[in-house]
Symmetry: C2
Subunit: 371 residues, 2 copies
DNA sequence: CCGATCGCTGTAAACGTTTCCGGCGAGTCT
DNA sequence: AGACTCGCCGGAAACGTTTACAGCGATCGG
């Protein structure tokens, strides 16, 4: 007598057929009241009761197949351990959740092939859209992005002509903010610990650093520039290499992980921060504020970029015919203890032991000074 | 002449019908060769060619509906910003990916209602299974877990009789490791900065701390115990409160975020670490090694727990009839600079300035000493 | 040389929803 | 009173796959 099983799913769970049969109505009616559209008071009552009795829960997959949307949005970033991406993710998650969708996170490790695989997989429609923050951009990327069957928005620099929704910041200007600040507080031998130059952010920050120094008419001593990758360990190692051959009085780091590594290297080498060496990180993650002394950091508006990217994506999902849009989030500088003291440039040695002092924030938030 | 569109999906993308028609075979044959099962050399050639020409990519949703599996696995943790969960997630992701599945990450914020919503949503089958690490466990949880229509494994303590796959550690013993180590290195006034007592880990760590002191016959001064939540800011605030009313010579913290907060509080208060106050964190995250001095930390084997949980889950997905299993990962202590010096307990003041020294690691990895 | 076997194929039925469409009874307007 | 609208209902067709089943020609063994 196993013929009535047409009404329930393979594993014995109730389907819309089950509740329809139990309520004595058609599956069409059952589906309608379950979706809250139409139905007479009487059928509504019967269907609701039946659904409750059997513990009916609609099957998300079947619904997706019918509605052509999964309710999922993907986020692809290089390294989920980097707090900047955590911040971005939180912001994205907030707006995505407000549209009733869920976020799927992918860590690409910055590997091009991983990213391409992800982009190709988009074609099978397992998500409604994707936000990707590629660290390197190739022609293959651009092709895949332009030809993507589902909406994609890119966080980060992209070719000017790429017909893709894009939210970016100006990290060249961000580096300039740091350099200006350090020069203004009396630093003269400013070092730079960067990430790989073959990445988009690495190249931009390198260009920004050189341009900023040039603008001030300062000759760049190449011994003061060091490159690793965007991780803590590499930042620490790179800073150690730099310290072994030069003695900067300030260090700009291409992100906060590197800055934390550099701080470690400086303290281990017996340099005081900020008295001997001022330190400025980048991305203004929560990590910067956890350090002692707290790190100055260039905010690239990660949360804001994430929020905007998510909004762009939702808009495009709603209306795929929108023209490609581009948004820009300006950088700002949060000055904290790690660069908070002005060097006694001309001053004779006064206050040799004034220690790390808190900056006087004029920033609306508690984060520091916006330059 | 729009009748041939039966062959392509609503948005004009090719379906199996498209390639079948183009190859001049039935959809069954097309599907077979696309799945690499069966087909004569000639049909294989034709179908492959047709698929390539039209750029066919199978629709994941339709496939899921048919196969009753989505290829997704969910992970629910309290706070994705906590590096311990990042480590766990990386480990899980690795084994999950090796089975061809993808990971969906949810941040619950430790809120019971969020977790219950997640658990209930499981019933709609949008994932093949779930790993959850609840910070508080209620009867509702247990009910939802036991009655879950898809496999679930829990990371963390759970009632002994709960019929749910479970991997745990012994954080009471973890705290004991820290206390033993501090006592052995001459510390006497050991403070404790914990998370909320109404959480499972908070309660366990509190019990562990008290038991460890009792075992050594030490009376616990309640002034040396402080509670916040498991975040950095709360840890820092709690440590400041504690320092304002007591002067410990060592501090055990319920996780690394708290420990980093405490380090900040100690340094800001002018206490030297480890000379004046030794510091031991918990979870042994990468954060512990980023600090200066590097933090000793009790490893609770997060990566290992994640790995095992993922394996349990995959096994259960493969065979849902398995009996509930329980695995335990032992804690260990990584000793680093923040507690690396032995106090000159009886010794007169020798080497007043020996500074933070690196421990001599006997641990197989570079992480420190296993106690 | 004929029946069994085997490899391949196409038809059609699933998977669980949503939704189009025609039917039908009750009301409304003229 | 008849034509019309209107709300509700059920049958059936989607959505795009995989797969059970049956048919069919060729090969093989006796």
């Amino acid at each position: 007598m196993g013929r009535k099983r047409l009404q329930e799913s393979a594993d014995g769970r109730p389907t819309v057929h089950t509740v329809a049969a139990r309520a004595g109505v058609s599956i069409a009616s059952a589906s309608r009241v379950l979706n809250g559209v139409g139905g007479s008071p009487e059928t509504i009552r019967k269907v609701r009761a039946a659904a409750a009795e059997v513990g009916y829960v609609p099957n998300a997959i079947a619904r997706s197949l019918q509605s052509q949307r999964t309710g999922l949005v993907a986020l692809a970033v290089e390294d989920i351990g980097n707090p900047v991406y955590v911040a971005m993710m939180r912001a994205i998650e907030a707006v995505v959740a407000s549209s009733g969708r869920q976020l799927v996170v992918h860590a690409t490790g910055g590997r091009i092939d991983n990213e391409m695989t992800l982009l190709r997989r988009l074609a099978n429609r397992y998500v409604d859209g994707m936000i990707i923050s590629p660290i390197r951009v190739t022609d293959d990327h651009l092709g895949a992005l332009a030809g993507s069957p589902v909406p994609v928005v890119v966080i980060g620099q992209l070719g000017a002509d790429a017909p893709v929704d894009n939210v970016r910041t100006d990290s060249r200007r961000g580096v300039a903010l740091a350099v200006d600040h350090l020069l203004a507080t009396g630093r003269r031998r400013i070092g730079f610990v960067n990430g790989p130059l073959d990445t988009v952010p690495g190249a931009a920050r390198d260009a920004g650093f050189r341009a900023a120094l040039a603008r001030h008419g300062i000759h760049l001593d190449e011994d003061l520039v060091e490159v690793g990758d965007f991780q803590y360990a590499a930042g620490r190692a790179a800073a150690l290499r730099l310290l072994a051959r030069a003695s900067p009085d300030a260090l700009v780091c291409a992100n906060d992980l590197i800055a934390v590594g550099a701080l470690h290297a400086l303290l281990a080498a017996g340099r005081r921060v900020p008295e001997d060496v001022a330190l400025v990180g980048m991305d203004d993650t929560e990590l910067a504020q956890m350090m002692f002394p707290q790190l100055s950091s260039v905010s690239l508006g990660s949360a804001e970029r994430g929020r905007r990217a998510a909004e762009l994506l939702l808009q495009r999902i709603a209306d795929p015919t929108l023209p490609p849009r581009r948004e820009q989030v300006p950088p700002s500088l949060a000055v904290r203890a790690s660069s908070g003291t002005t060097l006694p440039a001309a001053r004779p040695s006064a206050d040799p032991l004034d220690g790390p002092t808190a900056p006087t924030p004029t920033h609306p938030s508690s984060e520091g000074v916006t330059a």
